[in-house]
């Protein structure tokens, strides 16, 4: 009789497993989960919640990532063992095979518009800052676009590296400086040397003689043309004067 009671009492002394409270808070949406993933870019800390991926950073340590996240995003973080399929989803996202969902709450509507637009730039292509500004309906806000991209909480995933200066300078990059930006673009198949040579000569657009269409130099519409069939333009007026119309895909100018 007594032993059964004592045994039952001991069952009542059981402690919740380590991290239980944090997991509950994460499930209730009060904290984001995070883990570190091995990617083509090296180890990347990734945070997510029910709405999608909320942050990614090549931080030096978990502590650095947590500190940055809590300061910039304003929610708490809970380190978890990632769901088994998440690593593959992340590598698919980075190789352009899949679109993850993102949680951009907390950013200004302007920043959200910039990042949403940036998501639409295809892998292997680049666009100028001014293009993003024009596409989201704020053609004069080129600098603000640069700021929004510099503060992108989910670099690599939201490809802010695909936005470059129209003079061909690759420009700074929050995700690891200009060198990192160049590496990622090369990895994605951008012919940087060609792009920079054109930009340095002042050419911003390329046209294909047979179609009379002009594009940004990385647009895939021109990629099958032979080099001698390209013509290059300094600006939109020059292209139009030559009888060319803007590409409907990369939209170098309003059609």
């Amino acid at each position: 009789m007594a032993t059964v009671m004592i045994d039952l009492k001991r069952l009542g002394d059981v402690k919740a497993p380590a991290g239980f409270a944090d997991r509950v808070l994460a499930q209730a949406g009060m904290a984001d989960s995070y883990a570190v993933f091995e990617t083509v870019l090296g180890p990347v800390y990734v945070a997510w919640n029910r709405l999608g991926v909320s942050a990614a950073m090549r931080s030096k340590s978990a502590a650095e990532f947590e500190e940055w996240f809590e300061r910039e995003v304003g929610r708490r973080l809970v380190r978890v063992d990632p769901p088994a399929d998440l690593a593959r989803k992340i590598s698919d996202q980075l190789s352009g095979k899949r679109r993850l969902r993102f949680d951009l709450r907390g950013l200004t509507p302007f920043s959200q518009a910039v990042l949403e637009k940036t998501l639409k730039i295809p892998r292997g292509q680049v666009r100028p800052y001014g293009w993003v500004a024009r596409e989201i309906g704020h053609p004069a806000a080129v600098r603000a676009v640069g700021t929004a991209l510099a503060n992108n909480p989910i670099p690599y995933f939201i490809p802010c590296h695909r936005v470059v200066r129209s003079d061909g300078v690759i420009g700074n990059y929050g995700g690891g400086g200009p060198e990192a930006k160049k590496n990622i673009l090369s990895l994605e198949g951008v012919q940087l040397a060609r792009l920079q040579k054109l930009a340095q000569s002042g050419y911003r657009y390329e046209g294909v003689k047979s179609t009379k269409i002009f594009c940004f130099p990385t647009c895939y519409h021109g990629r099958h043309a032979r080099e001698e069939n390209f013509v290059f333009f300094h600006d939109e007026a020059e292209a139009r004067a030559a009888g060319y119309r803007p590409c409907k895909d990369c939209r170098p100018a309003v059609a």
């Binding site: 069952l11 059981v14 409270a21 509950v24 088994a84």
Partner: protein, 171 residues
Amino acid sequence: MEGTERVFERLVRDNQDRIFALSLALTGNRHDAEEVAQDTFLRAYRALADYPPERVRELKQRAWLHRIAVNVFRNRVRGLRPRLVELNGSEPSTASGPEEDVLRRAEIDELAARVACLPARYREAVVLRHVQELSYAEVADALGQPVGTVKANVHRGLKILRGENHGDGDD
């Protein structure tokens, strides 16, 4: 809303051990116990968000959580499906502490499994009364049963655990 989150966090930290112990005693294994305990708190969270502030303030948290946990457990028993093999790797790693802890843990797990063999109505009564050490009145409240019924169920449950009256538990 901010207020709810603070109340909820306190609620989880203050009650996690108790509710996990309850879930373990009811389900008999740590995997299901974590699910029941998590569900219990998530339901509590949704309820808290809907309650007016004075109701939240006057809430008898302990009794309330016990009631929710029992309901979560009962719903699971009702919709009992084959145990899913854990595929997503999110299960917390089995803590490997000193050998002494491992032994104690194995004992506890065996104990929980034994309690889990009791028919549900005896198990609920026994666990709330003798694992959680609630009063008969509190148990009756959590289970939504008359005190007399609870007393009888506790009595029968203990008898079975002691190995008496084997035929009694089959109905």
